[in-house]
Symmetry: C2
Amino acid sequence: MESLALMAGRPRKAEPEVALAAAMSAFWEKGYEGTSMSDLTEATGLHKASLYKTFGDKHQLFVSALKLYFSKTAQAQKVSRSGEDSPIKAIKKSVTSTIDQCAEGKGCLAVNSLIEVAPFDPEIDRILKQFRQRLENQLARLVEEAKERQQIPASINTNEAVRLITVFLHGLSANMAAGMKVSKARTLLHDQLDLVLLPKKKFKRT
Amino acid sequence: MESLALMAGRPRKAEPEVALAAAMSAFWEKGYEGTSMSDLTEATGLHKASLYKTFGDKHQLFVSALKLYFSKTAQAQKVSRSGEDSPIKAIKKSVTSTIDQCAEGKGCLAVNSLIEVAPFDPEIDRILKQFRQRLENQLARLVEEAKERQQIPASINTNEAVRLITVFLHGLSANMAAGMKVSKARTLLHDQLDLVLLPKKKFKRT
């Protein structure tokens, strides 16, 4: 991660946004517990006093970083949908963009926080749940549209399909944090989408 | 978590094993970074000097705790297979036992460590990879057996099926760490198994 202290000539007004993005990267890289205040001052190029003044304590800075992460994700979702008429293609683009985002850091900051922070922190838990609900609702709307357009069988249970996709994404994120390549993750994701969004044959077990 | 200091009358010989189990629970509950030496002395009922003498430093104690966790998992896998003639039933019992183990703590200690520790710790990364390989090999053997017995279609790709099941288990673990109920996790897991182990119909997209 590049220290902002090394960067020159940036417009003064942009500083808090740029510092927040750097803090987000630090938390993404090292986890909440693993990121010290000195990691944060180094990453942002701000002194401790300025950090506190601008963002509050480490916890408040983490909340802001998580919200920035979510706005990046929401933006990527919007891009997936815009200019894409086919709902099934929009689903593929949307979940693939999630995987690509995981590849930028150590897995997905939201999934990492689900394990590391949410069990002990009701505020983070609430923010993560709200965000996941919003993503699941978007995905559910696309699945419904795909059913209406007969791109996928009407017999598919929308809520179940969405859950099977998102839980799988969380599993991929954990594997990507530990080094799974983005190309491998994309292949598995597309296998999973085909499983979830195509009908099953009857098969008589012996 | 019950402090061992509160327990009386246990046989002296069992102490290191009992202390290690208590340390494992502490790491499972709070994560590697989140567990302090004073958490470990409290959980095990041992003084810091005794802990160091018996198990080495925090990192070595964590390695031993992780190995204990894996031997518990391997034992549960063995039980799933013994007395179970049907490979498909053995697969279901085996992955269900993984979920049940996640429900004992904050998700699965191995998946938590995949995210929190493995990216920064080559030794833990290596131990986790070895263990996952062993579990995947066991699952692959069962999938092959189920194909031979015509319990599942011969067309299923064994390695792909195993990967889709294990990645999904990792995702469930992350959700269970953040509070998903074991009953919900079991339902989703069985949905996923049905998707992975039953054949797909042809479906013509419009």
